[in-house]
């Protein structure tokens, strides 16, 4: 599992690096209107950008500012004092750790994602179903230090049980790179450098330069996304705008946006 140890002392160099990589959360608020600052997982980029547009149309007095980065990096930023009102995480563990530290309210499930196999549009390795995966001579997956890689490992272990022993091993020997996030994994397929890659369903759907191949439901992994309102201790305003935005993400319009970008909102 993901290591969830707390940062125990000021790590000035690394935290500034983390800020640099993730971009700082906007703090300059204008006098008129409320500013709502959201830290969201990279995989929510398209969906939450659409949410921002929809929410600001309905609430013209609120200015929504969203910063996207890996959930682990965002958690680190919140722990080190990045001011924000809402955390949308691709990983329950990161949100629970913040709640345990008193920095966030208990997290609530927003939607689910699942894994998908992608291949370049010219499909050089001729992969047409999940069972063809061992044909890929250059496979790119997520590193096992991020949730994507952990989910991929569990999924391949399940496939081993369903599709015959040795399936996972045959696939793993073809791995040429383990990237740090789903977008880097997908880019290797978009560039035609990888024969196949395993990313989230949403990443696959957000690109028209890859072909999506479904992973069978009995093998696939459902991954929960959560939102957690940040407390005063984390610099959260905890005002009505936050509650309104959280409600919007669960509204009919919000759910339609999530579905459009490949999320599963059933039972969320």
């Amino acid at each position: 599992m993901v290591t969830t140890r707390a940062v125990s002392r000021p790590l000035s160099a690394l935290v500034s690096a983390a800020f640099f990589m993730g971009g700082c959360a906007g703090t300059d608020s204008e006098d008129r209107g409320t500013q709502l600052s959201i830290l969201a997982a990279s995989s929510l980029t398209e969906a939450f950008t659409a949410m921002e547009v929809g929410f600001e149309m309905a609430n013209p007095d609120v200015d929504v500012v969203i910063t996207f980065a890996g959930s682990q990096v965002l958690r680190l930023q919140i722990e080190q004092g990045a001011p924000a009102d809402l955390f949308a995480s691709a990983n329950e563990a990161q949100a629970h750790a913040l709640a345990d530290a008193g920095l966030a309210e208990p997290p609530r499930i927003l939607a689910h994602n699942r894994l998908a196999l992608i291949v370049p549009t010219d499909n050089p390795a001729e992969i047409f179903s999940f069972g063809d995966l061992p044909q890929a001579s250059r496979l790119v997956v997520g590193t096992e230090h991020v949730p994507l890689g952990i989910y991929t490992r569990s999924m391949l272990d399940r496939a081993d049980a369903k599709l015959g022993a040795g399936f996972a091993d045959r696939v793993r020997t073809q791995v040429v790179s383990r990237e740090n996030n789903a977008r880097l994994v997908r880019a290797k397929v978009e560039l035609g450098e990888a024969d196949a890659a395993i990313v989230y369903q949403t990443d696959a759907m957000a690109s028209d330069r890859v072909r999506l191949i479904e992973i069978p439901g009995d093998v696939n992994i459902r991954t929960p996304y959560v939102t957690a309102t940040l407390t005063d201790a984390a610099g959260g305003a905890a005002n009505r705008a936050v509650a309104d935005f959280v409600a919007f993400t669960r509204s009919e319009e919000g759910r339609a946006i999530l579905v459009r970008y490949g999320f599963d909102v059933e039972g969320a």
Partner: protein, 274 residues
Amino acid sequence: MSNTSLRAPARPAGALLAGVLVLLLTVPLLGLAVSASPAELRAGAASPLFAPALWLSLRTTLMSLGVIVVTGTPLAWWLATSKGRSARVIEVLVDLPIVIPPAVVGVALLQTFGRQGLLGAGLSEFGIGIPFTERAVLLAQIVVSAPFYVQAAANAFRRVDLDVLIVARTLGASPDVAFFRVAVPIALPGLVVGMSLAWARALGEFGATLLFAGNLSGRTQTMPLAILTALESDVQLAVVFSLVLAAMGGLVLVGLRLAPSAWASFAGGRISRP
């Protein structure tokens, strides 16, 4: 004295400004140094990411430095001694990777040596693949760090008095002997500085490697990539890796400071010998 009166008014403000910069440059290193205990250092070194990344970084940076010195020395000599316009044009082209962000170099390398790239498409017909291999790590390091060596070496060669070479030739030395026995020893301190800068830059190479070579422990995951990977799961591990990399850079810097004076005393001793 005239220079005292010139310096005096600017002194307090200048010292304050200089002090701010010195603090900004040194305090983050101090923060890094105090953020890991010896036990954490040992735990970090025992991480499965550590040894393969360190070994890969050392191996590839030394190999790329070898390639840079063998190809960059004749280039630098030509740039230093040639007065033509073509040499000035080549000099600017060689310096380009210094001002181009490494991520751009990575994209450019992919568009060149990738499977659908300018040269990569032809190479892959012969079964030669470059991305995701150690060759890609080497290429990225060479492209981003070679300019530092070539620039320093060309400057060092420019300080070689050509009359000395002419004297060597009239005394019967062949052009090769004159170059290796006269020009190179005179320029050596400058060449060493260039090698150190290029090596340090190759060791820190991150952006181009990430895009072009991928990230696989034991194959293409160098120390900077291991730091980013560790940061995704265990911050303390990333701190330890960063410390090791900072210490390696520090050693190069100390070597850089000591090398010229050590060389001067060595060479001076030799020349004064009867």
